[in-house]
Symmetry: C2
Subunit: 160 residues, 2 copies
């Protein structure tokens, strides 16, 4: 306790680091993936990642209702609502009333929106392939399995 006179409760814990390291790694990788996609989309299409997802869900997956988007892509419905409004204002999306359900609105792409998706799809696919190419099939399988297990463990409520 002479030179290094720091009040410690316990010796540094590699275990503690591991846990924090894990969530740290996960959030970091995810942040970088998002940042990369966001950059491309901003430069190439002038939209955000969320907006791209919405456009792709409408234009590629053929979904037509906000609620479907939320469910399909686990997007918050509030966020979908706000972004739809933006996309409509920018003339990329049309939202017209649905006859069969007065609450709902039917979503679709405008010509401009369709053009933008068509123009953007190839580059996003390219990126896709880059990412996919980074992992071999075995790694991908283990990654998914590990994430499943972690997610399950993270749901435990009764370990205390």
């Amino acid at each position: 306790m002479s030179q290094n006179d720091i009040a410690r409760i316990a010796e540094p814990q590699p275990e503690l680091q591991l846990q924090q390291f894990l969530t740290y790694r996960l959030s970091r990788v995810q942040a970088k993936l998002n940042a990369q996609a966001s950059r491309v989309l901003r430069e190439h299409a002038g939209i955000t990642l969320t907006q791209w997802r919405i456009l792709a869900l409408i234009g590629v997956e053929g979904l037509r209702r906000s609620a479907d988007l939320s469910r399909h892509a686990a997007l918050d419905k509030g966020m979908v609502s706000r972004n739809i409004k933006l996309l409509v204002a920018e003339g990329l999306v049309v939202a017209e009333g649905d006859d069969s359900d007065q609450r709902a609105q039917t979503l679709g792409l405008t010509g401009k929106g369709r053009q933008l998706v068509e123009r953007t799809l190839p580059i996003m696919r390219k990126r896709q392939n880059l990412l996919r190419g980074a992992l071999d099939a075995g790694e991908l399988a283990v990654l998914y399995r590990a994430l499943d297990k972690l997610e399950l463990a993270a749901e435990a409520q009764d370990f205390d």
Copy 2:
């Protein structure tokens, strides 16, 4: 195009889903890990995850300066600053001027802060072990490798 008359730009793309699925999975797992830790800390110690990290870095790792915390745990320095202020206000941390560097302050735990860390450490270790037990060594290794590769791929700037 009869019954399912939806204007699509392309057929639904499993590849697109994969990418979004990947970031979706990552963010989801991470969110759950955070939520779990946050819940435990809130119920058990009345602090947030960030605050716990700070307390542990001071009390367990023995760090004494804000800047060291930021570097060590990749926490934003602004966030550290604000949280330190809260922790001081709650009487868990002391921050006194540093003689050798007028800009810096020396951080330490109060008795109350030390007690709280001592009380909270065991349960966080328990959680730690739960998570660690969820993956075998091989899975953990592949997980790390896969995250490394993905992170690298996510840093590529010139794929377009």
